[in-house]
Symmetry: D3
Subunit: 297 residues, 6 copies
C-alpha cells in the first residue's frame, strides 16, 4: 500500500502562488528583456546544480514559465525529490526566450528555497535512519514539520518536507487541535487544570479532531493522558525525561518531541521512543540550495 507522501500541491494553488511572484517581480513588464530580446526569438536553457542536496519544486518552476508563455517546454532531467550533486543538469527548457529570461529569477527563487527545505529535512531523516522498530511494533520516530513556515509558501514547503522524507503536522489552525503553552496559561487564569482544559477542548471541537496538548513535565503528561488527550507535545524536555514519559504513556497517546532538535541531538531524541519529532528549522532556517540557469547557444 503506497504512501501519498510525494503528491504534488494542487495545480490551482501553485498557479496562484506563481502568479503573485511574477507580479511581484514585474515579470510581464521586464524592461531589459523587452529592450534587448525580440519577441520571436527562441532558445534553450538548462538548470544546473551548483551544490548537492535534494531537489524540490519542479512543478512550481514549470508553472512559472508556463504562466508567461504556455508554449515553453519544461523537461525535468531528474524527478522531484532526487538526490542531486554539484554540476548535475536538472531541467531542460526550450522555447520563447523572452519568457525564459523573464521567468528565470522567479523559477529559481522557488526551486532554491524548496530544495533548501527538502535538503534540510533529509539530513534529519538520514540522521535517524536505521533505528529499530520499537518493541510494541510501532515504527521509529518520524521527522515532521511545524507552522513555522514562510508566510505564503506553506503548501509548497510542506511538499518539500515530504520530498525530503519528512511528514506533515496539521496544516494550520483550522485543521488540528494543539493546546500550547499560551493556551494553557490563558486557561490557568481561569483556574482550569490540564485535565479540565483537555476536556473543555474535547467538548467544543468536532469529533473528527484529535486533541493534542503541550506538556513540560512528567506529571503534566500523566494528567493530560488521563484526561483523554490523544497526543502530547513534549516541549524542550531532556532525552532522559522524554524516555520516562514515553514509558508512562505506554502507547495510550501519541508523543511528539519539540524544541532543541538539531543534527547533533535528533538521534538521541528518536531513541527515547517518541512517535514524532517536529522541527521548525527545516522550514524557517534552511539555506537556499544554489542553482543556476544557463542559456545554451
Amino acid at each position: 500500500m503506497p504512501e501519498e507522501t510525494s503528491r504534488p500541491p494542487d495545480p490551482k494553488i501553485v498557479q496562484r502562488v506563481v502568479e503573485a511572484a511574477l507580479l511581484e517581480d514585474g515579470a510581464r513588464s521586464d524592461v531589459t528583456t523587452k529592450a534587448v530580446v525580440p519577441e520571436g526569438q527562441a532558445g534553450r536553457a538548462v538548470i544546473i546544480a551548483k551544490e548537492g542536496g535534494v531537489l524540490a519544486g519542479l512543478p512550481v518552476a514549470e508553472a512559472t514559465f508556463a504562466a508567461l508563455d504556455a508554449t515553453v517546454q519544461f523537461v525535468p532531467l531528474v524527478p522531484d525529490g532526487s538526490i542531486i550533486s554539484r554540476g548535475d543538469r536538472l531541467v531542460g527548457i526550450e522555447g520563447a526566450l523572452p519568457a525564459i529570461l523573464s521567468g528565470e529569477r522567479v523559477a529559481l527563487n522557488f526551486l532554491q528555497q524548496l530544495s533548501g527545505v527538502a535538503t534540510a529535512t533529509n539530513e534529519l531523516v538520514e540522521a535517524v535512519a536505521g533505528l529499530h522498530a520499537r518493541p510494541d511494533g510501532r515504527a521509529p520516530a518520524r521527522i515532521i514539520d511545524t507552522r513555522k513556515t514562510t508566510p505564503g509558501l506553506r503548501e509548497l514547503e510542506r511538499y518539500a518536507v515530504r520530498l525530503g522524507g519528512g511528514q506533515n503536522h496539521r496544516f494550520n489552525l483550522s485543521d488540528g487541535v494543539l493546546i500550547k503553552d499560551n493556551h494553557i496559561a490563558a486557561a490557568r487564569d481561569r483556574d482550569l487544570s490540564i485535565g479540565q482544559i483537555v476536556e473543555l477542548a474535547r467538548r467544543n471541537v468536532s469529533h473528527t479532531f484529535r486533541v493534542e496538548i503541550e506538556v513540560t513535565t512528567r506529571e503534566e503528561a500523566r494528567e493530560a493522558v488521563g484526561a483523554g488527550a490523544d497526543a502530547i507535545l513534549l516541549d524542550n524536555m531532556s532525552a532522559a525525561e522524554m524516555r520516562l514519559v514515553v514509558e508512562d504513556v505506554a502507547g495510550r497517546a501519541i508523543t511528539e518531541a519539540s524544541g532543541g532538535v538539531s543534527l547533533d541531538t535528533v538521534r538521541e531524541i528518536a531513541e527515547t521512543g517518541v512517535d514524532l519529532i517536529s522541527v521548525g528549522g527545516i522550514t524557517h532556517s534552511a539555506p537556499a540550495l544554489d542553482l543556476s540557469m544557463e542559456l545554451e547557444t
Copy 2:
C-alpha cells in the same frame, strides 16, 4: 540631509501580505483557541528575544494582531532596527486573548524571518565598516540586496535590508535595466557585441532608466563603458581583477561586485574600490532569528 533608508513599507502592502498569511494559517478559524479560550477573555503577552541580532518587522507584527482585533494594543519596547540581545523584551501586547493567541505564529513568523534578514545584512555592513572614502571622494562600497528574495515578501525583506544598514537594488524587472549573462547570450546569438547590446537597450527604454550590464572580463567592462553603459556588474571576478576594472572605469560608470560574497571575502572586495556589493544570501539564506511570545499572567 536625511536618508530615507528606514521608511517602513506602505501600510496597504503590509495589510495585504498579513491578510494572506492569516488566511493561510486559518487564523480566523483557530479551532483550538475557540475551544479553550472564551471570546471575552483579555490578557497580556510579551515578545522576547531568544538570541541576539537586529530586530525587523514591527509594523508587520502589529498589523497581524490588528487584522484579527483592532483593539489589541501593540507597544514596541525598542524601535525597529535595534540591535537586540538574548532575553530582551521587545514588544508588549495587551487585549483580547483569542486574537493574541490566533495571531501569535503569523506575527512571529514575519518577525523571525525579517529579523534574520536584517541581522545577516548587518553582519556584512559591519564587516566593511570603517573603510576610508576613496581618493575621488566617493563613499566606500555599500551592501545592496538582489531579486533573490522570498516569493511574496520582497517589499518586506527590502525593508529589513535597510534596517540592517544595507541599501536596495532595483525592486523588480519593471523598474530597472540590468542586462545579465543570459540576455547577452541571447543577443550574441544574433551576433550583437557588448557595445551593440548596450546601445540597443539605450534606444528601447525610457530615458529615466540607467543601463547596467554584466561583464566577466576587463575587456568586456571597457567595451560596455565605452558604449555608454551607466553601470557594470562584475560577476564572480577576483578581487585583483575588480581592482583593475575599477581603475579602467575611473568613475565613468558605477561598479557593482556580485558573486562569492561572504563574511570572509566582503572586506577585500570592498577594498577594490567598487561602488556596490550585491548579496543574494542576505535574503535567500538568512536563518530566522529566534523569538518567542509569552503570556504574562
Copy 3:
C-alpha cells in the same frame, strides 16, 4: 466550563459574504430608491416575525446595513438564538433611509434562511431532549450538521445550527477524515479491506486527525474498529442494528448515525445509544422563516 456553541462567525467572513450578496442584488445601484428617496432622508424601521421559530443571523443583517452606510443604527431587541413568536419585534433600525431600503431584501434573505436552519435544528434537538445519560456516563446523542449546506453559506449555516442547539461536524474536506462509501468502493477496486483502508488513512494523514469510516453492517463496524478507526458512521441502518453495533463497539470508537433522520425517527435513533446523529435536512431543506421589515413613520 462554558461551551463555545454560540460564538458568532468571524466579522471578516461575514463582511465578505454580505458584500457579495449586496453586489449580486445591485444594492448600491438601486434605481428605485435613488429615484424616489432623497439622499439625506432619515427614518426608522423594525424587523418583525411573521411566524414562530428560532432567530439566527443578527450579525449578518447588521453587517448588511453597515456595509451600505456605517451610520445606520441596528439595535437587536432580542438576542440571536431566541425563540420567537409571530408578531415579535426583533430589531430596530434607524438612520439613512436609502441604505435601509436598499439593504432590506439582502438582510432579510440572510435572516430568513439562517433562522430557518436554526428552527429546523431546534425541532430535532427538542425531539431528543430529556433522554437519560447512558450507562457508561456519556451524554446522550447530539444533533450535528453535515456538508450538505448551501454553497457559499456554510460558515453562517453552521452558526445557525449551533444557535438551534446542534453541534458541528468537520467544516470541510480539509479538516476532517471521513472515509465514505465511494472511497471504500474505490479502495475495494484495489483489493483493500475495510481494515486496510483504515490503516492506509492512518498512515497518510496528520496525527492530529481522527479517522472516521462509513460502515453499513455490523461486521464492517467490527472490522473498522478493530483496525483502529476512531469513529464510525452508521449509514442507513435500522435502529435495531445500530443498537447491536453500539454494544459491539462498547465505547472504543465514536458512533454517528446518518440517513433517514426525521422528526418521526430521531428519538428512536437516539435511544440506540449512538453518540451523534447527523442530518443534512437541517441545512439543505429547511424552509425560510417568514420575517418582514416595516418603516415606522
Copy 4:
C-alpha cells in the same frame, strides 16, 4: 419563434460560483481522498435520483468536476429540465477518481438545491396549466420569481425557475424599478401621493425602465395607473379584490399578484386575470431534491 427560457447561465458566472464552493469545501485539500485514493486511479460513477421532480443544474455540476480535473468526462443521460423519477440514472461521470470524489458533495449540493427550486416552480406552473387565454387575447398568468433567493446563487436559481416553467422578474435592484411599501412610506413622510411618487420615479430613471408600484387597494391601483405606472404589484389582496383591479386596469398596466401564493391558492389567483404571480417560496423554501452519486466498480 423560440423563447429563450432555458438558456443556461454564463459559463464565467458558473465557474466563479463553483470555484467559491470548492474553496469553501476545501475540495483541493481533501485529506481523506488524498490519503486513501492514489493520484492516478480512474473510475466511473453515476448520479441517481432518490426521488422524483425536475432536474436542474447540470452545467454547474459539470463545471464542478471540470474545475478539479479538466479530463473528467461528464455525460448527462437526460437533459436539464427533465421530469425525473426515483431511481433514474441522470449523469455518467468517468475519469480521475480523486477529482470525482473530492467534487461529489459540491456538485450534489448544487444539483439538489437547483432541482428543488425547479421542482417547486413546476408544481405551481402545473397548478395553473390549462387556463384559457383571457378575452382580450392575452396569455394566462405566468409564475415568476422574486429577489428572495439564496445569497450568492441568484443567477443559478433563476435558471432553475426557468427550467421549472416559470419566468424571471427583474434580476436585482439595478435593473428594474419596483416601488414597494417601504418606498411609499418614505415618500408619504414627504407628503407625496401615489401619483406623485410614480411621476417622480418616471422623471428620475432611464427611459428604458418601466415603473412598477405596489398597491394594496383598488383606489391606489387606480391612482397609480392614472399617474402612468406601467405595472402594479397587488400585495396580499383577496382574489375578489384582484379581480376588480384587473377590470379597472383594463390592460393599461401589467398586474402582478404577490403574497399568500401556495399550491392551494395559485389557481384561484390566476383566474382573476392577473398577468403575473410572483412567489418567493420557490427559491427560499424549496426543499432540496434527493440525489446521490455512486461509484460503479
Copy 5:
C-alpha cells in the same frame, strides 16, 4: 419634487476605481517623493482652473488623497457641477506632503477627464435651452449619454454627464433593452419582421423593462410602434424625417434621436419634437479640462 440628477456615485465604487488608478500609477511606490520628501513633512496645496468649464469629480479626487493618507484635508472651495473660469481656486488640500504629491497626478487625471465630460455635455444642454414645451405638454428634448464611455469609468462619466445637465440612458447591456441595427440584421436572417422582433423581445424579457428598437425609416418606426415598442431610436435621420416620425408616433412611444449630433445641429434636432437626443461624443471625445495643483509655501 427634487430630481436626483446630481447624486454622486457610490463611495465603494469610487474607492475601487481610485485604488486601481493608484496601483497603476505606482503611487505607493513613488520613488521620487520617497527620495526627496521626508515622511513627516506637512504642507498645503490648491487646485486651480487653467481654463473655463464645468467642474466634475470632486468626490473622486477626495477619495484619491484619502486612500493614500486618511488624515489629508480636502476642502472644496466650490461645489461639484459649478461653472468655473480660468484662474479659479477649486480645492484646498492640507496635510501629509508625501500623500499630496504621490496622489496629485491621479486626482488631476480624474478631475480633468470628468470635468471635460461635464463641460462638453453642458455645451449641448445650453444649445437646446429655452425651447418651449411641446403642444402636448411634454418637456422639450433632453441630452442623454450612451454606452460609448471610457472602459472602466462609466459610473463616473455618467455622474459627470448629470453634473453637466444631461441625463443618463441605460447603464449597460443588463439593465435596458435596446434592439439595434445589428440585432435586427441578425433577426432578419431568420426572416423576422420589425414587428416580430419587438414581440419576441417583449416575451423574453422581464416585464420591468421597456422595449426600445432602432429604426431608420418612417415605415419601420410605424411598424415598431404598432407592434408595441415602448421607444424607438431614430438613427441618423434628417431633421425633416424625424419631424414626420414624431407626428406619426403621436406620443405612443418615446423617440430618441441619435447620430450626427453636434453643437451646430443639436437645436434643429431638438426642434423636431423628439424626446431624447443621445450623444456619444460627450464621453468619448470630450477634451480634458486643464487643471493644475500648486503647493503653497
Copy 6:
C-alpha cells in the same frame, strides 16, 4: 537592430482590462441579445473606418470577443498601426452572433479610444519629421507621452502612442525619478537648493535610476546639471530660452520640453535641439476615432 516600439501589451494585462470592461457593460447579461438572438446563431461582421487616422488596439478588440466566446474568429484585414482611411474594412469577425453582438460596444470603445491616441500622436510625429540630425550626431527630438493617461488604460494608451510613432516616458511613479515643481517647492521649504535636491535624490534611490528634475530657468538648468542631474525637464519655456539651455547643457544631460506643445508649436520646439518633447494631450484629449461594426448577412 530592431526597435521594440510596437510590442503589444502583455496578454494577461489585456485580458484583465477587457474583463473589467465586459463586466462594467454587463456583456454577459445582455438582455436584448438573449431575448432576440438564439444561442446557436452564427454570422459574420466587419469593422469599418468612418474616418481616417492610425488604427490601434486590435489585440484588445480580439481579446474582447475571445473572452465572450473562444471560438469567435477575429481576422485583422490590416495590421495594428496602419494608416487608415474612411471606408476601409479593418477586421472580419465570424462565429457566434450572441458573442459578437454583446462584445461589439466594448471592442469598439477600446479601438476608438486607442486609435484616437495613435492618431493624435502621429500628427505630432509627422509635424517634426524630416528634421536633420543634430551637429553632435544625436537624433532629432522624439515625441513622448506623460502620466496624463486615462485611469486604468495606461498600458494600452502607451502602446497606442508607440503605434503612432511616439515613445514612452517612465510608466509610473515607481519606475522613474522625476523631481517636479511641487517636489521642489516642498524641498525649498526645508531650505534645499536645486543642487541639494538632486544630490538627495541620487543618494536615496537605486543606482539603476536616472535622476530627472524640472527647471524653469536657464540658471536652474545649469545648477541641476552641475549637481549631477541626468535629465532636465524644461517647463513652459520659450523656444528661445530652450535653445540657450540646450547650448548650456551641451549633451551632459537629456533635455525634455514640456508644456504648450501643439501642432502649431511642435516643430519650432523640436528645432531648439531638445532631446524629447512630452505631450499630455495625446492621451488625455485625443478625440475617439469613428469606427463601426456591421453585420454582413
